[in-house]
Amino acid sequence: MDEEKSALLGDKKLGIRAILRHSWPYIRQEKWWVLLSFLLILVTVGVNIALPMFTSRFVGVLKAEYNNDTLSIIVGIALGYAGLGIANQGIRYLQAMLLQRSGQRIVYQLRMEVFTHIESMSQNQFNQMAVGSLVTRVANYTAAVSDLFTRVLVSLLSNIFMVVGVLVIMMSISIRLALYLLIFAAVAGITSFVFGKIVSKIFRKERQYISDLNAFLSENLSGMKITQIFNQEKRKMHEFDEKNGAIRRAQYNVIIAFAIYRPFLNLLYYGSIATTFFVGLSIALGSAEIVAFYLYLSRFFNPIQNIADQLNQISRAVTAAERLYSLLDVAPEVVDKPDAKPIEHFEGRIEFKHVWFAYEAENWILKDVSFVVEPRTTCAFVGATGAGKTTILSLIVRNFEIQKGQILIDGIDINDIQIDSLRKGIGQMLQDVFLFSGSINTNLTLHDESFTPEEIKAATDYVNATPFIESLPNKFEEEVLERGENFSAGQRQLLSFARTILHKPQILILDEATANIDTETELLIQDSLQRIRTIGTMLVVAHRLSTIQHADKIIVLQNGEVLEEGTHQQLLAKHGHYYKLYELQYAHQEKQAEPVIEVQPA
């Protein structure tokens, strides 16, 4: 995933200390395991440093004068090598699995924490965050952070120990030769580090191009129909070629960088072998010592490369950690007050008292809005787009916090009600009906298995959805595709009604869709709406004239202010704003001599 594109609003630079502070709770649970496996790593590093000494000693024994013990020493070396080597592998297995288990436990916990945190965020915060970036945090960055502690840092340390250990032992054999070799090591180290810097830049570019292409692909696969019916395949192919070519060029840079770096390190390695032989013989080191140096050299150069590599991995993992933890730092905007009460049942009296609301500072969407909706009545909100109708509905369920004033349900300030119980009592039917992939059943129950098939059927009966469901091959088990795209807008509406009814709310809010619905389904919807509004208090952002006319009260909004309220007849009699809206609509209908259901006051 590309780093720039997956950035979120809340992302910020965190210091290493902040990252450690955030990570500590996870590491703490695993600290004994991590510590144990770290000790085991020290053991394996020690063994890895010791093993070449067996070979060295072996050469020493064989080149020396033989005596009666020689053969048993040879056998002893062979058996000792085997025993130590096998034991070392056993320890390695144990250590690797300990770390893997700890690492996976940490991934699990991080994922749970991030997911739970995301679930707790407020609607407003969701609107500002791209779903893809959130998913990347849950799926990928969690693994990257856990990797940082259980793999990268641990192996970085073990590599450092290895380098230091080998250096110490080489110096103990011959300081002079060791110092010569240190020059090679220094060159290798510096080269690796510089190379790492360069290559991470090239890699970033490569990733950027890859994610560009993926974005292009996913968009164009979804919109292939348009490309085809507009005959633009060639042009899209051309665009694809450009992006595909950009990736190749970036990859070629990576290849060239590595084609210089890796062989160069090898050259250094062989140069150091030649130096060992030359200097070793010149300073009259024995064969055993030269063999030891020879074997240690590869145990010296590999960790140096690894260290440079891991330093780069750390900087990448730190970015992942920053992203992850800054998301966790984003506090949910809407939270329960400590003394908030759960409410079992609402009578359904809703009151707005001088409510002021703005999404952004001072840009007031609602200005001093006050109204009362009596229990079990229907209130319709009308007004132009941007008048604040939908906002009012989302404030009642506390998707946002108001700045001034009070919203009361049954006389209780909604800030004193636990959000969960508030939302349980209020059935929301939103403009865009979202269906999950699964079946009709799971979409109605939302995986709540306490609903019986009879209850479900009763709910679909109630909203006139049963006939169309039963006409499907698998009825209630019919598969629902991603976003419910195998159902028409009208059918989705009916399913949304059924879902709401099933959950037995006492207050209903409905944001009527303007979607294209055929007349037959439209009548079914209107018929079920008639029934739904008898369930309890209903607040509706109305587009249907029939909905408005059936309302017990109509509230006319303009630019966030309540202009008029009353019944349809009262408002008409008033000859005010509503009258004008209606006249406009009515005149239009008369001219057409044809009923038009939609009313969309301009």
Binding site: F58, L62, K63, Y66, I74, I77, A82, G85, I86, Q89, R92, Y93, M97, Q100, Q104, R105, R111, I118, E119, F126, V131, L134, V135, V138, A139, N214, A215, E219, L221, S222, M224, Q228, I229, F230, N231, E233, K236, M237, N244, I255, R262, P263, N266, L267, F277, I290, V291, R423, K424, F434, L446, H447, D448, S488, A489, A515, D518, E520, Q585, Q592
Partner: protein
């Protein structure tokens, strides 16, 4: 190593073979370079052996030492050049194959018809485009390197070993054969575990994605805890499969190391024994052959074993890598093999000056895999220049009818004619250039509004874009954006409202200026006034040009020349509003239903 082994390592398939043809010089060069490096590497232990055995002479005769040092440096330089060459050439080929296959796939994606996209999730196709191509590229890049090393480095090492001592070689080879058997054994389990792990990860990814997309519903029904619970199960499963995969992987690595330790111990034991016996005066004799071995030889031998570790590990990895790549290639091949249902006929008929007469003759249509007919025996003629409305309930076949016009699907039963030519005989690009379409879903590309409007033409004409926007009554909206026509529509057009997208989509269709214009329920998300403006514009700007308008409401189409009434896939009425009002019961009922609503209102 036998030659058949090489074949077993490689990957063939009709979609891959052409890339062998294209890139063989690079593979050849890279492989030669690899082989040279492999051979050069085996010189180093030989020098080491000489250093051990001849240490005293070498100190005495520095020119001889210089010879060895020079030899090492030459080998090192050869390796330096060789390694650079193989990296450049082999990875050039492997990234080239990836780019090529990706292009082949996109070309295929452009040919696949609507029915394919209806059945296949875009996410799946994306996986083939990303992880599966990566897998194949990895195989041809690193896989080739591993394969060549596994074969040539090990061969070159084994030859050097045999040259030294055949019995020591036999002792060393027994554990090495164990590694191959072990690798082959683990390979099978490993690839299935790898897939299981990938599947679980995808499940986690999809779950999170859908949950975050539908978060409003989850919150409004207070189902967060249920979702968290469900997510926990998936996350736990991920944890388990990851651990079990790691266990296998670690165990595999550890076992290989164990085998190598045993191998070295054998070399120490037997080698030491051979040398001891020889130096003590009673050399070991096997099958009449006296074993002569020096300490230098033995160290040289250990140096060889050091070299053979990597090819052996490579051998273990290449097996699982190949099985993964094979799976990826299989999926990609399946995609590339997808039969094309909509194929452009050879020498298809082109209509340079299309008049826009549409004729359906006993046209019956059912979606692939569906038993039910979506359209039943439709026969009708739309004359050039007519404006025709299409009404009917949801699922009555309105969209299906227009989709077949530009061959989203094949006409299999009955016939559809454009200007008297069966559209199945027509050149598809020509057919589509004659019909402009604004679909129901308002898909816009992440590009500027003006590019979206002018999508049908390579060259953009600002004037025409503006006219098209005026036609769709969206000009003033666009003008009010800070960036105007340069406003970039976000992914799937998120920065525009539904109604605006709909109208940009109409403008896009109008811009094409085709003989036939089809608007599929395009005015659903716009208000009545805008709808009226657009209907007026159709009348004005599409005068004399065939125009089809699908509508949910009779009111949208009543002023058009003719109206097609569909019911459950049957043509139940075709005529003007007046005619239908007189003689068409289904149409009358539709009008009646809307009047009924009016009466309900009147009763209040």
């Amino acid at each position: 190593m036998p030659k058949c082994k090489l074949y077993a390592f490689m990957l063939f398939g009709k979609y891959i073979n052409k890339y062998y043809k294209k890139y063989w010089p690079f593979f050849l060069l890279g492989i030669i370079a690899l082989i040279v490096v492999d051979v050069a590497q085996t010189f180093i232990p030989r020098f080491l052996g000489r250093i051990i055995d001849e240490d005293n002479q070498l100190i005495a005769d520095l020119s001889k030492l210089g010879e060895i040092i020079g030899g090492i440096m030459i080998a090192a330089l050869v390796m330096f050049v060789g390694r650079a060459i193989w990296r450049l050439s082999i990875f050039h080929a492997s990234t080239g194959i990836a780019a090529g296959v990706r292009k082949d796939m996109f070309a295929k994606a452009e040919q696949l018809s609507a029915s394919y996209y209806h059945e296949t999730k875009v996410g799946n196709i994306m996986n083939w485009f990303t992880s599966d191509i990566d897998e194949i590229s990895e195989f041809f890049g690193w896989g080739t390197v591993m394969m060549i090393d596994a074969i040539f480095l090990s061969t070159s090492v084994v030859i050097s070993m045999i040259r030294l001592n055949i019995w020591m070689t036999i002792i060393a080879m027994i554990p090495i054969l164990l590694i191959i058997v072990w690798g082959a054994f683990v390979d099978k389990i490993m690839s299935s575990k790898w897939e299981a792990r990938q599947k679980e990860f995808d499940r986690l990814y999809d779950f999170a994605q859908e949950n975050f997309t539908g978060i409003r519903v989850i919150k409004s029904f207070v189902k967060q805890n249920k979702e968290i619970h469900a997510f926990a199960k998936i996350a736990r499963k991920n944890q388990e499969v990851n651990v079990s995969f790691a266990r296998l992987q670690v165990f595999f690595d550890v076992m290989i190391e164990v085998i190598l330790v045993i191998e070295l111990a054998c070399v120490f034991g037997f080698g030491g024994w051979f040398i001891y016996a020889a130096v003590s005066g009673n050399p070991i004799v096997i099958f009449g052959q006296t074993i002569r071995l020096t300490v230098g030889n033995l160290i040289e031998f250990i140096g060889y074993i050091d070299l053979i570790i990597w090819p052996m590990i490579a051998l273990g990895q290449i097996i699982s890598m190949r099985s993964r790549a094979k799976g990826s290639l299989r999926r990609i091949s399946e995609f590339l093999d997808t039969p094309l249902d909509v194929v452009n006929p050879l020498n298809g008929i082109k209509l340079p000056n299309c008049l826009g007469e549409i004729k359906l003759q006993n046209f019956t249509f059912s979606y692939p895999g569906s038993q039910k007919n979506s359209l039943n025996n439709i026969t009708l003629t739309i004359h050039p220049g007519e404006h025709v409305g299409i009404v009917g309930k949801v699922g009555s076949g309105k969209t299906t009818l227009v989709n077949t016009l530009f061959r989203e699907y094949n006409v299999e039963r009955g016939q559809v004619f454009l200007d008297g030519v069966d559209i199945m005989d027509m050149d598809i690009p020509n057919l589509r250039s004659n019909i402009a379409y604004a679909p129901q879903d308002n898909f816009l590309f992440s590009d500027t509004v003006e590019h979206n409007v002018s999508f049908s033409m390579e060259e953009m004409d600002r004037e025409k874009v503006k006219n098209a926007a005026i036609f769709a009554d969206v000009d003033s909206n666009i003008a009010s954006f800070p960036k105007g026509y340069q406003t970039v529509s976000g992914e799937r057009g998120v920065t525009l409202s539904g109604g605006q997208k709909q109208r940009v989509s109409i403008a896009r269709a109008f811009y094409k200026n085709s003989s036939v214009l089809v608007l599929d329920d395009c005015v659903s998300a716009v208000d009545v006034k805008t709808e009226e403006t657009i209907l007026g514009n159709i009348k004005k700007y599409r005068e004399g040009k065939t125009t089809l308008l699908i509508a949910s409401r009779v009111s949208s189409v009543r002023d058009l020349d003719k109206i097609i009434v569909l019911d459950k896939g049957n043509l139940v009425g075709f005529g003007s509003h007046q005619e239908l009002m007189e003689n068409n019961p289904v149409y009358q009922r539709m009008v009646y239903l809307q009047q009924l609503e009016q009466e309900v209102k009147g009763g209040e």
